[in-house]
């Protein structure tokens, strides 16, 4: 059984069809990239999966359970964590506190209105492990707003990981990074993905990043899936080249 399964997922905004009958299966342990030109519906796809946007039609199953239409905080707690295209952090909290608050969201007594030393400690343990995995332990005590852009992107991934998700959704993790920063961030991500064997859905513009990280690629064009397969297959597909790659290599 695939961990995440989409079937006939459609999202319309008036006359605009942002997602058109998208079908997709992501297996456990797979790193799947979703690529496509601007406006192809990649971010809408993420929003629909995480429940921030309701699909107009279609089925989404996570570990066999239908999740389309659930509120986003419920979907998140089932084990789907995401990062955002535009960095979203708590800028005045330290990186450690950012990750701790992320981990706390999965604690059964996350809302306790008094005390809480043990809840904090348990959340901090998960948070510190995630920061370690992404090589952020050294800067964990700095306010998140003062970190370099590259570290902020990685901190977002660490926050998602501190929640021990079953699927990680990464929305353009190298967005806005310089060439060197991108290289460093991708090195860290590649190392981390290899060790953690995390199931990942990745939206990315940078083809080099995609071909380095992804096991399998889904190509979106005007909201519809036009190709789906291993990186080499997709690269060779003539329709993909016409629609998107436009002479890559």
């Amino acid at each position: 059984m695939p961990l995440l399964e989409l079937d006939g997922v459609t999202r319309k905004y008036g006359a605009l069809v942002a997602l058109d009958q998208v079908a997709m299966r992501v297996e456990e342990g797979e790193v799947r990239a979703v690529i496509g030109p601007n406006g192809a519906g990649k971010t809408t796809l993420f929003n629909v999966i995480t429940g921030t946007v309701r699909p107009t039609a279609g089925l989404i199953r996570f570990a066999g359970q239908p999740i389309a239409g659930l509120p986003s905080h419920r979907i998140c707690r089932l084990g789907i964590s995401r990062t955002f295209q535009i960095t979203a952090l708590f800028p005045e909290m330290s990186a450690r506190d950012n990750a701790r608050l992320a981990a706390q969201a999965r604690h059964p007594r996350r809302w306790q209105p008094f005390g809480g030393a043990r809840i904090f400690k348990e959340a901090q343990t998960l948070a510190d492990a995630a920061l370690e995995q992404l090589g952020l332990s050294g800067i964990a005590d700095r306010p998140a707003g003062l970190l370099s852009h590259g570290d902020q992107r990685l901190l977002e991934v660490a926050m998602a990981m501190a929640q021990q998700p079953r699927v990680l959704l990464l929305d353009e993790p190298t967005q806005g990074l310089s060439v060197e920063e991108t290289e460093q961030a991708v090195d860290t991500l590649a190392r981390f993905l290899k060790v953690s064997r995390m199931t990942v859905l990745l939206v990315e513009h940078d083809m080099e990043v995609v071909f380095r990280l992804a096991h399998r690629i889904t190509v979106l064009h005007r909201g519809a899936v036009i190709a789906d397969g291993a990186p080499d297959q997709v690269k060779a597909d003539s329709r993909v080249q016409d629609a998107y790659l436009g002479g890559f290599e």
Binding site: C76, F84, F90, P113, G116, F120
Partner: protein
Amino acid sequence: MPERMPGRIKGATRLLIWTVVALALVLAPLGLPPFAMTLLTEAVILGLFAMSLDLMFGFTRLVSFGHAAAYGFGAYACGWMLLHTGMPLLFAVFAAALLTGLMAIGVGWMCTLATGVSFSMLTLAFAQLLYAISFKWTSVTGGSDGLAGIPRTIGPFGLAALSSKTGFYYLALGCLVGGFLVCAALVRSPFGAVLRGIRENEAKTTALGYNTRLYKIAVVAAAYGLGGLAGALYAPFAGFANTELLFWLLSGQVLIMVIVGGAGTLIGPVLGAAFFMLMEHQLSALTEAWALYFGLIFIAFVLFAPQGIWGLATTRLRRAAPRP
């Protein structure tokens, strides 16, 4: 990026200051003339009111333009119970606070349908609604006359001391200290950490899997409940409850107290309330246009000391304290 939370004063200096403040407050009735005690009691009640707003304003960035609703509702509820049911003072005060908190669950549910300025406008609209009701529902609220002659009923447990002037001061002081301890525990708890997340980035807090709306409703209920406690103390303190306690002017004044005192610090708003009362008292003796001069002081704080009185004090003390 400026450091938001003023750091805490450490060690011996801190202990010393708190001991002096606690002693001064406890011993105040021995040394102060009756008139000053009346002012001090009112400052304590207003301090509790301002502190309750800080839970929303300072810790969650939920700006209420209608916090007078909590104060006025608490005052009317407590006043009505004391006038018409023969309930003892202590019971009426806490029952009124509880009622205000319960009422606020509805307010919170409604107001959190919106965010930002719309949220603030809804809180204002709700307070104005109560204000209008207090005028029209004459049989319960006494209309424009309000409720007068509210007694401090002693009740069956022999707590006669509480109904005296000094006793009532200690009751108010106890509520302020208790309220502070509850708020301090709340903002340091896991719940408080989520509030901080909402304050800094609500969308992200939701994306992490928190149902932020529930947290906001809960903090509105807590803040109104505590504000209702302050109002419930005011009614038997003054002996009356009138429509002014629900008026938007008071909502504005309590916001000013919080900002001048130092938002997000709990103690700051208490100082802000005392400062506001002191200024009102001193300036109004000199000029009728005291509100104008206080307005200038408020502007000066916003421009030059946005961290408020408490922020100024802690920075100064930390600088003066010997380094460990």
